[in-house]
Amino acid sequence: MSFTQTRTLGARRHLLGLEDLSAAEINEVLETAIPCKEIIQREIKKLPTLRGRTVVTLFFEPSTRTRISFELAAKWLGADTVNVTVSTSSVQKGENFVDTARTIEALGADFIILRHSMAGAAHLLAENVKCRVINAGDGAREHPTQALLDIFTLKEKLGRIQGLKVAIVGDILHSRVAMSNIYGLTKLGAKVMVVGPPTLIPKGLTELGVEVEHNLDRALNEVDVVNMLRIQLERQQKGLFPSLREYARLYGLNAERLNKARKDLIVMHPGPTNLGVEITEEAATDSRSVITAQVTNGVAVRMAIFYLLNGGRANDEFLS
């Protein structure tokens, strides 16, 4: 069985990151999410599509919205769902998460949704199980479904991705959301600018065609979209920036900055927000903010991914 250029996401077993996907595969998810969004606006949000399938969310890091979003997407498509949350503190040293996942697979899981603090965890798991694996965040590497929902939201609002200029602001160094967005947006022809203090911007991004800027006000004058990343408060102790107040002053989005910005700017945030740090409440609830739409669209995009990865036996035979 040979795969030509027309390979689609359906020919894969796993969604591990946007680095591996083609523009065509990303567009396939975006297109499929449109009818999924119609479903979630219905009174009866229930389809028989994944009837009999079991989806297990296996989270080694805390998360509320991503886990619930995956769970609702699976449930509305008719699958059964089980949540496994392993608090990091209870994981004994040396415990092998692959073993945990194998047990879950043996119990009958068809999909495992994995979040783990280790970069590459989803790739490692995918090599070791037969069921389908969806990466819900692996360390600072990728969070593909978040980027896909961000891109879907942008396309919904602006009608295109090609030619857009998107600023991603904040802790780029530790952000899997930033990495997945960079891969996805550039593949679809958008320009990406990362904005933040030099200590929070990894080296080598320019090689991916990304522009680096350290001044938020300058960036706001140049872009169509601003995606404000969450400052992970637990990283603050590392001394990568002087204080939260200082950070908020230099890199926080507030009413004053928004008043000066263009009227059709799009403001995004992957949530949960640290109000008053990277974004103020006024900015988060501004008419230019699409944060609520992002949350809703997350379910639609994850439904699309489940649907596309849910191929029949032929997939298993050809691609195992």
Binding site: T8, G10, A11, E31, T32, I34, P35, C36, E38, I39, R42, I44, K46, L47, P48, T49, G52, L77, Y307, L308, N310, G311, G312, R313, A314, N315, F318
Partner: protein, 184 residues
């Protein structure tokens, strides 16, 4: 490869069949009250729109026309490797209490209609559901029959009935095709 074996209907035959169907639908329903036409993607949609235009000519009433995508309701999704492309379902009104006429091009196994009925039920509780098809080619695998039929066409399992419409294919024509020898 598929080889065309015979032509079942030309453009005039399709036009006349739809004309008759438009009258049968309003006759059986004693008018147009609460009627909704819902085309099943892909070719049921232009057929539903043509029926609505004919009914408007006959009765002077604009019937609501909906578009139904049944992909999420297919019963063979776990058997096929590439998932089919899903499109949007667009139903302009609430279906509860309405008389729904499903419109499709060919009635064959009945599985599409089964899926369409499930999809409609998830959108509301219509008063009744009827089925209008341009061609009924037999070989049912479910206890389903059409209320309005443009043409009955006995076929063999090896054959396929291909409906071509101006809106989707650039011409109005129904042909019987046969799977040529060798592999499909």
């Amino acid at each position: 490869m598929h080889r065309i074996k015979a032509q079942l209907m030309d453009d005039d035959a399709i036009r006349r069949a739809l004309y008759r169907l438009s009258h049968e639908i309003t006759e059986k329903n004693k008018g147009v009250d609460d009627l909704v036409l819902i085309g099943i993607r892909t070719r049921g949609v232009p057929l539903a729109q043509r029926l609505a235009a004919l009914i408007k000519k006959n009765e002077g009433v604009d019937l609501p026309v909906g578009v139904l995508d049944i992909t999420f309701y297919r019963d063979d999704l776990s058997l096929i490797s590439q998932q089919p492309v899903v499109h949007k379902t667009e139903i302009p009104i609430r279906l509860t209490g309405k008389k729904v006429v499903l419109v499709d091009d060919v009635l064959f196994t009945g599985r599409t209609v089964r899926a369409a009925m499930d999809a409609v039920m998830d959108l509301g509780r219509p008063r009744l559901i009827q089925l209008a098809v341009l061609v009924d080619r037999g070989h049912r695998e479910l206890p389903i029959r059409a209320d309005f039929i443009g043409k009955n066409a006995p076929t063999s399992q090896r054959e396929t009935v291909s409906v071509k419409l101006k809106e989707t294919d650039g011409e109005d024509r129904v042909v019987i095709e046969e799977v040529a020898d060798g592999k499909d």
